[in-house]
């Protein structure tokens, strides 16, 4: 219990809620700005995501008559709390903050699944037929991408290399442990298995963020933002914030697991930020140059080529490539 204050600081201030939300809003501005530049527009100012959230906080909350009221209103907060906790664990390990291991890879993976589950339940709780369609699509998408994502993350766990005549192996589920292994043996990404695994994980994170081509659950042109259709005001703001936090956390998680986290040397922080921004811009460019696929095509894609690639990466990691 004596470490409660420390944990609360990690969760609420840095690198948790306050930091994660600020970083997330900055990242979502970057997303909109890069999107605008791709389309030869100028795009919104840097404070735009902040004003969007403040505006939503000041709006009326409408609860549909046929909705499950308690769930409908509570789930957005559950989503944000889980995303923030995942952000705390990820950034804590990535930035090598003191205080030992807070949680391992398994905890982060299940915390990252909670926002999607909250979105599925929230869409279903709204009682709207379009929300139900969105929920069912999101459910299929989660089934699709969780399996290859976990396999891809396991590639980092099963890495082993010859370092100075000794066989060094990661063999740990702790994020700090994986970062430590990469300090000794070099980043996971610098091996064939690491390249394949990062590619798979990047696609899975793309789907987790609900970006085109995997935005079937929110498809605003066909099912009017699907799972979010009935949300208004502060609950909608919570879902927008959740997405912003994930936008900052998922690239950071990938860099931590596959690309060495923040290097132990000076300039490591700048390199880390550069890698995170690089992955983010890559995601935004893919989002802007692809059409939305049908949900059955997305599921076939994730269970076919993506899972296959992840398994190949796992085999390569097993033989030390």
């Amino acid at each position: 219990m004596e470490r409660l204050g420390e944990w609360l600081f990690f969760y609420l201030v840095f690198p948790g809620a306050a930091f994660a939300v600020a970083a997330g809003l900055a990242m979502s501005w970057l997303d909109r700005k890069v999107t605008a530049l791709v389309q030869w527009r100028r795009g919104p100012g840097a404070s735009q995501p902040f004003w969007d959230v403040v505006k939503l906080l000041g709006k009326e909350v409408v609860v549909p008559a046929q909705a499950w009221t308690a769930g409908f209103l509570a789930l957005p907060f559950v989503a944000l709390a889980a995303a923030t906790l995942a952000a705390t664990l990820t950034w804590h390990a990535a930035l090598r903050l003191p205080g030992g291991t807070l949680g391992d890879l398994i905890v982060v993976v299940y915390l990252l699944a909670i926002p999607s589950l909250a979105l599925i339940l929230g869409g279903a709780a709204s009682g709207n037929p379009l929300g139900a369609v969105g929920s069912s699509r999101d459910m299929k998408l989660v089934l699709g991408y969780e399996l290859p994502l976990v396999i891809a993350l396991l590639v980092a766990v099963f890495q082993h290399r010859m370092v100075g005549g000794q066989d060094v192996t990661a063999a740990t589920l702790s994020l700090a442990g994986i970062v430590g292994f990469q300090d000794v043996a070099g980043a996971v990404l610098y091996r064939p298995s690491g390249v394949l695994a990062l590619l798979v994980a990047l696609l899975c994170c793309h789907a987790k963020l609900g970006f085109v081509p995997f935005d079937q659950a929110e498809a605003d042109t066909e099912i009017a933002e699907g799972v979010l259709v009935e949300y208004s005001g502060p609950p909608l703001a919570m879902f927008k914030l959740t997405q912003a936090v994930l936008l900052a956390t998922l690239p950071a998680l990938l860099v931590t697991v596959f690309w060495g986290g923040v290097g132990a040397t000076t300039g490591g922080l700048a390199a880390f930020a550069g890698k995170v921004l690089l992955l983010l811009v890559l995601i935004v460019l893919v989002k802007n140059t692809n059409p939305r696929v049908r949900i059955d095509q997305a599921l076939r894609f994730f269970w076919g080529p993506v899972t296959g690639t992840a398994l190949v990466a796992l085999l390569l990691a097993g033989v030390g490539w």
Partner: protein
């Protein structure tokens, strides 16, 4: 409706619009789409087209309200969370234009909406169709009111 609080300020910097076509000829709808193109790029001002009236602050209405559209328009209006307002895009939405006294129309959009919400705020952008600049000017005027 003028508000100096931080929420009022945020509303002026981030108006999300929902577009309702009430059986117009599609001409105004094309001009509305023009506002989103690189030449006008309304996202610079934080204006975004959203897919659900629940997310919207401003409703863009184009076309005379046909009898078939009447309840749909009223329901969509009531689904928008407060504070809310509407821009009548084009002469048909403002005053029905050439459809005045036609057998199939229920009235101009402001009359139809005031049947269910007497305090609704509107801005009128006449034209057949109005230019994108005019639509943006109308939105800016409305935001000054909000």
């Amino acid at each position: 409706m003028a508000s100096a609080s931080i929420f009022g300020r945020a509303l002026r910097r981030s108006p999300w619009v929902f577009h309702v076509g009430t059986s117009g000829c599609n001409n105004c709808d094309i001009e509305i789409a023009d506002c989103l193109t690189p030449r006008f790029d309304v996202e610079r001002f934080g204006i975004r087209l959203v897919g659900s009236p629940r997310h919207a602050d401003v409703m863009l209405i184009s076309g005379p309200v046909s009898t078939a559209c009447r309840t749909a328009l009223q329901q969509a209006w009531l689904e928008m969370p407060r504070p809310r307002a509407a821009v009548m895009v084009g002469v048909c939405a403002c005053s029905m234009g050439g459809y005045r006294d036609a057998y199939s129309v229920a009235g101009p959009a402001d009359v139809v909406i005031r049947e269910v919400d007497p305090d609704a705020t509107f801005v009128y952008v006449p034209g057949c169709p109005p230019k994108p600049e005019t639509i943006i000017a109308g939105l800016v005027k409305l935001l000054g009111e909000m």
